[in-house]
Amino acid sequence: MTNEKELDKQVLRCPRLGGEVPFSYCRTLQDGMPCDRIIICWELVFDIGAYLQEHYKPAEIQKFLHPKPKDKMTTLLDIIEQAKRNAKKAKKPPE
């Protein structure tokens, strides 16, 4: 990609957020790795396939394109458990 900075500034409407986001958001959404929808959203704007191959290893691409799916309720329960742990941690007096 010739001009990465310009690319980062390109904007699309994110169907998840319901608002406009720059490409830089989409390529860092999952803990610094791209969003799993990055191909679908950016396909017609530029050659996103080539971009991904240029910047990520095949194993990384597989990982961020196919995050392990969980149903909504399972995910919610996971977040509740995580939140309980965080809350417990926050109540501990500072060392």
Binding site: L29, I40, L77, A90
Partner: protein, 458 residues
């Protein structure tokens, strides 16, 4: 002058919500706890939802009473008018009669307060002092903030940082209604602090915002969490839209042949269509269309997968194009909580053949939205434009067939806070996208070993 708006008085507002769980041809499977493998019980959800809403979530009672205080707040804008779109009909030169339920009349400008008001009320009577939630661009956050103001309950919203910075208007709406809105990730929660430590400049994500809102609810015994889509009780609260429409049609002696709604998380679609879906289950001949974008065709590409829904324990599998012939094509799964995934109730009704999914191209949706704005005068939200595009398709089809079809759709919200999307359309920055046929075939081969869905014949 012809009657344009079919109105109901406050006395004629429905007094009960309709719960389609009572009539679904295939009952929903209960979600299982990931740890025990047993069906999730009320105690599993009690840390974040009040018991009265959990009861609604699992209820199979057909009718659920709408409490009087909820009706009082809803009466600020409800009953919402059923409007005959004469100008759109004329512009399309169609014999079809087009009606729409105008949900943009609500103070936040969309259908979302229909459930926000109910959830705020049920939390209030359960003793909740504070409700937390997350929001992307602010639609749900502003609806809940409005509802909180109506019942004097504190609302705290975690808004994805990138939207918080770029979209000040809905944030200001939240503030005006007295809510606190944090840019997520924030320093208010352990989840947020951890992310910020690692990357102080992160733009945030819905996943992080959800974690923060849930943590804030779990950490404080007076707080609960609220969700604006996907869950069963949310769908049920929205049915007031379709129930009103049925009464309004009765007034003019009409009934829809086709019911159309855009379907993101499914709540505005469910709200309009479920009362009509009930009629269809009991024998009425109605076409019910859920419209989605071709760029994210969860429902329409579904036949390739073995399911569309979440809680029925089958994940949505979407054939996708690949990075080259050596790259194994595989299904995409929407990650995280899939708040923009389809509601299990809607998914199941698609499988049962009650609802027909349809995908439309992005440019067609905006073209439809502009046509609607230039005829009926209302600038619809970009999501709503999907429904309008399908309405126009059906109206043109009625013209070709010479049939006077009655079409009903949900004008789920206005687009006045989304003009950047229209700007992108007018300046040619939007594109259509559809999976190329050869990629679909290739992807289909890849998912051949997967079990096939049991989809009713349409």
């Amino acid at each position: 002058m012809e009657v344009k708006k079919i109105l109901l008085t406050e006395d004629e507002m429905p007094r009960q919500w309709y719960n389609i769980a009572a009539d679904m041809p295939t009952p929903l499977q209960p979600p299982l706890h990931p740890g025990t493998g047993q069906p999730i019980g009320p105690e599993d959800l009690a840390p974040i939802f009040p018991m009265n809403l959990i009861e609604q979530e699992v209820s199979t009672e057909r009718w659920i009473d709408i409490p009087e205080p909820v009706l009082e707040v809803l009466s600020i804008w409800r009953p919402a008018p059923l409007v005959r779109a004469y100008a759109l009909e004329k512009a399309l030169d169609t014999p079809a009669k087009i009606y729409y339920k105008n949900e943009s009349y609500s103070p936040p400008g969309s259908h979302k307060p229909n459930t926000a008001v109910a959830q705020a009320y049920f939390n209030k009577i359960a003793g909740t002092k504070r409700i937390t939630t997350e929001t992307g661009a602010g639609q749900w956050g502003s609806a809940l903030s409005f509802a909180g103001a109506m019942f004097g309950i504190e609302i705290v919203v975690w808004m994805v940082k990138i939207s918080y910075q770029q979209k000040p208007y809905r944030r200001l709406m939240m503030n005006t209604w007295g809510a606190t809105c944090y840019a997520s990730p924030s320093t208010q929660t352990e989840a947020g602090r951890k992310i910020l430590e690692k990357d102080p400049d992160t733009p945030g994500s819905l996943g992080i915002a959800i974690s923060e809102a849930v943590e804030a609810a779990v950490s404080d015994e007076n707080s609960k969490y609220a969700l604006g889509s996907v869950l069963n009780h949310v769908m049920t609260h929205q049915t007031i839209i379709g129930l009103e429409a049925q009464k309004q049609f009765e007034k003019v002696g009409d009934y829809p042949d086709i019911v159309i709604g855009c379907a993101g998380g499914g709540s505005n679609f469910a709200g309009l269509s479920f009362p009509f879906a009930r009629d269809k289950i009991f024998g009425k001949d109605i076409k019910i269309i859920a419209v989605e974008p071709t760029s994210c065709p969860t429902m329409t590409r579904g036949p390739f997968a073995y399911d569309f829904g979440d809680t029925v324990q089958m994940t949505p599998l979407l054939p996708m194009h690949t990075l080259g012939h050596d790259f194994i094509p595989a299904p995409i799964h929407a990650g995280g909580l899939r708040y923009h995934g389809m509601a299990p109730m809607v998914s199941q009704l698609i499988l049962d053949g009650i609802i027909e999914p349809r995908a439309v191209h992005q440019l067609e949706t905006f073209e439809a939205g502009v046509t609607f704005a230039r005829t009926e005068g209302i600038i619809a939200a970009p999501e709503t434009n999907h429904a309008i595009a399908a309405v126009i398709q059906e109206a043109k089809k009625a013209k070709e067939e010479g049939k006077e079809k009655v079409i009903l759709f949900n004008m789920s919200g206005h687009g006045l806070v989304d003009m950047a999307a229209y700007d992108a359309y007018f300046s040619g920055k939007l594109h259509d996208y559809e999976l190329p046929e050869e990629e679909i075939e290739r992807a289909l081969r890849a998912i051949e070993p997967l079990p096939k869905p049991k989809v009713a014949a349409k």
